[in-house]
């Protein structure tokens, strides 16, 4: 991956794509404004939905945004850091169960619950990462999977929180007097704001000095060690940040579903997250949201028409592996470049 290295200049804040892309060169203004356009459309969606008869999909887009938050964090460590973690759903689960534990303990503030989810998931990522990051390759995949499985069985056995059957959050959390009751979709905008912040944050960090060091580790770890970079600490920092953000997504997911069960941390959920990120484009800014959007929209559309909605997605994965190995984001990029 010999992509040109750019200093984290003012352009990054405007979320411009790599200037080498012909599309970005030809329509620089459009590309620079695209994130804001997407944000504006998403922000207006709950207001426009009733007129278009799409009220049902406000909740769907909300879920999509939450999953995109988790996927962005995985894209950060996997795409930029080269850490193939197959246990990311474990951190989502830790976040969700933190919310459950706080609710069970009598707290009702949403901010406290989501903040707690972020912190507790970050702490567990620090512990798990400290052990896992000593291994490489397949062994890293397996050991992150093993830790996620341990968390899964822990959740299954916690009968106080419903065990296998899950835990219903019957009263919604309070976001504060100035937000609650303003509009029925206020939670949607909160999620959108958090998703936008997370997305902008990861994009920015990816192009910072730290992000470049992380990519250096991905491409040639031995060399980075020789250059004197504290490789293990840099990787661990990324792993903890990603785990914390995944926990935040888990906390939001708990509020979104008003229900938490161990199923959200089953290993297939971790695999699914990985699949969505790779489908969208590993290590590309738009990779995670594109992959999540494509997967969830297809899933939703297929479910409407047939009970057999798994196999077309499986075929899609095989097609992606053989025809778009760099992901959806790159397909767009490459076609432009070939002209």
């Amino acid at each position: 991956m010999n992509r040109p290295v750019f200093a984290p200049s003012r352009v990054a804040s405007a979320a411009a794509e790599h200037p080498r892309q012909p599309f970005a060169v030809r329509f620089p203004g459009f590309v620079r404004r695209l994130p804001w356009l997407v944000l504006a459309i998403l922000a207006l969606f709950p207001l426009l939905a009733p007129a278009l008869g799409l009220e049902y999909y406000v909740g769907f887009v909300r879920r999509l945004l939450i999953v995109a938050i988790a996927a962005s964090s995985l894209n950060f460590i996997l795409g930029y850091g080269g850490m193939a973690a197959l246990g990311h759903a474990g951190f989502i689960g830790v976040g969700a169960y933190t919310v459950v534990a706080l609710v069970e303990a009598g707290f009702s503030s949403a901010w406290l619950a989501w903040g707690g989810a972020l912190v507790v998931a970050g702490l567990s990522a620090a512990l798990i990462g400290a052990v896992s990051l000593r291994t490489r390759g397949v062994y890293f995949i397996m050991i992150t999977l093993a830790f996620a499985q341990m968390l899964y069985y822990l959740a299954v056995s916690l009968r106080t929180y419903g065990g296998d059957d899950g835990y219903g959050l019957y009263t919604s959390l309070e976001m504060g007097a100035w937000l609650d009751g303003v509009h029925p979709d206020v939670f949607y905008w909160v999620v959108l704001a958090i998703a936008a912040l997370v997305f902008a944050g990861f994009s920015r960090v990816a192009h910072s000095r730290y992000g470049h060091a992380l990519r250096g580790i991905r491409d040639n770890e031995t060399r980075m060690v020789a250059l004197g970079y504290p490789v293990y600490r840099l990787k661990l920092a990324g792993f903890v940040a990603a785990g914390a953000v995944a926990g935040l997504a888990g906390g939001l997911l708990a509020s979104h579903n008003a229900f938490v069960s161990p199923a959200i941390m089953h290993w297939t959920q971790s695999a699914l997250l990985l699949v969505m990120v790779m489908l969208g484009g590993l290590g590309r800014r738009w990779g995670a949201p594109l992959g999540v959007a494509l997967w969830l929209v297809l899933e939703e559309a297929l479910k409407m028409h047939t009970d057999y909605w798994h196999w077309p997605l499986g075929v899609l994965l095989l097609l992606a592996v053989f025809h778009a190995p760099q992901g959806l984001a790159a397909l767009f990029e490459r076609r432009e470049a070939n002209r």
């Binding site: 995949i141 499985q149 106080t160 699949v275 057999y308 798994h310």
Partner: protein
């Protein structure tokens, strides 16, 4: 907890371990020789279980059911190898995960289309329905004894095949150093196709044998895949001997954990805590085992590669 209960549980663990070995053997060779991570191996196990259950129900002949399961699954695996797996050899592990996860999704829907969503009830063969008196006051289900016998027999056969035959030598050469084997004139592609088919047959056999004592349902492949992966990582990727030892270890640790941990905890902890903690610890026992082994021996117990 008396001696008979302990002995019974150890036998159960042995049986489970041997079945895990049948699944892990193919997985470890595919991984070891071609460096290919095949998540869809569990789907082959599922295919074997479904075919065996239906053929047994229709014909009433258990041996025929097992043979049919192996044949059908090998045919499916051959198709899979030619269409997909063959093109994945030189790709990244993550790409292999992506593609074989796609195969899992397709396989689950195909099974649903053919046999429906409801779990199948597979019956044990009538001859083996009753218990056998192993010793005074120790009845043991005869079907589970068959499981242990069949598992040991297959393990022995595999040992002879890998260590005493020419094809086995080629397999070992491919696993320990693929490039070197290629330079020496081994057609690693052909050896691999053979290994893939053999692995599929073993997975199908495990599925067919496990069908009567576990529930035959969609998702059973994904459930067994993780313990099988744990086995090959503990044993050392590419090593049959390692897979055998690790499978028995995992089988015993998992079964013993489920049987002995909860009562042991109840003896020392308050009942409420023990009731929560027991199943959790039993569930994670094999992962703790894996983490411990990897800490001491990062390449597994019997690394195939020098």
């Amino acid at each position: 907890m008396d001696a008979i209960f302990v002995f019974e549980q150890l036998l159960n663990g042995l049986g489970y371990g041997l079945m895990l070995f049948l699944i892990a053997a193919g997985l470890t060779l595919v991984f070891g020789i071609m460096d290919t991570m095949n998540l869809a191996h569990g789907s082959l196990y599922m295919a074997g279980a479904y075919v065996a259950a239906r053929v047994h129900e229709a014909s009433g002949m258990f041996v025929l059911a097992v043979a049919a399961a192996a044949l059908v699954t090998v045919a499916v695996a051959a198709l899979l190898e030619v269409l997909v797996i063959r093109r994945l050899y030189r790709r990244d592990h993550l790409v292999q995960v992506l593609a074989t996860f796609g195969i899992i999704l397709i396989a689950d829907d195909v099974v649903k289309a053919i046999w429906g969503v409801a779990p199948l009830m597979a019956s044990t063969p009538a001859v083996l329905a009753g218990p056998v008196q192993l010793a005074e006051g120790l009845p043991y289900p005869s079907y589970r004894l068959l499981l242990i016998g069949a598992g040991l027999l297959v393990a022995l056969g595999l040992y002879l095949l890998v260590n005493r035959t020419r094809i086995g030598m080629l397999v070992r050469a491919g696993a320990s150093n693929r490039q070197m084997a290629e330079f020496m004139g081994v057609r690693v592609g052909t050896v691999f196709a053979f290994v893939f088919a053999l692995g599929a047959a073993l997975a199908a056999l495990a599925g067919a044998l496990m069908a009567p004592i576990s529930s035959v349902q969609i998702g059973m492949g994904e459930a067994i895949l993780i313990p099988a992966l744990v086995v090959i990582v503990i044993g050392g990727i590419g090593s049959i001997r390692g897979a055998f030892v690790a499978a028995l270890l995992v089988g015993l640790v998992d079964t013993a954990g489920r049987a002995f941990l909860p009562p042991a905890l109840r003896a020392v902890l308050p009942p409420a805590v023990a009731a929560d903690l027991g199943p959790a610890l039993a569930g994670i026992a094999m992962y703790v085992l894996m983490a411990a082994v990897l800490t001491l021996k990062p390449a597994g117990l019997f690394p195939a590669r020098a």
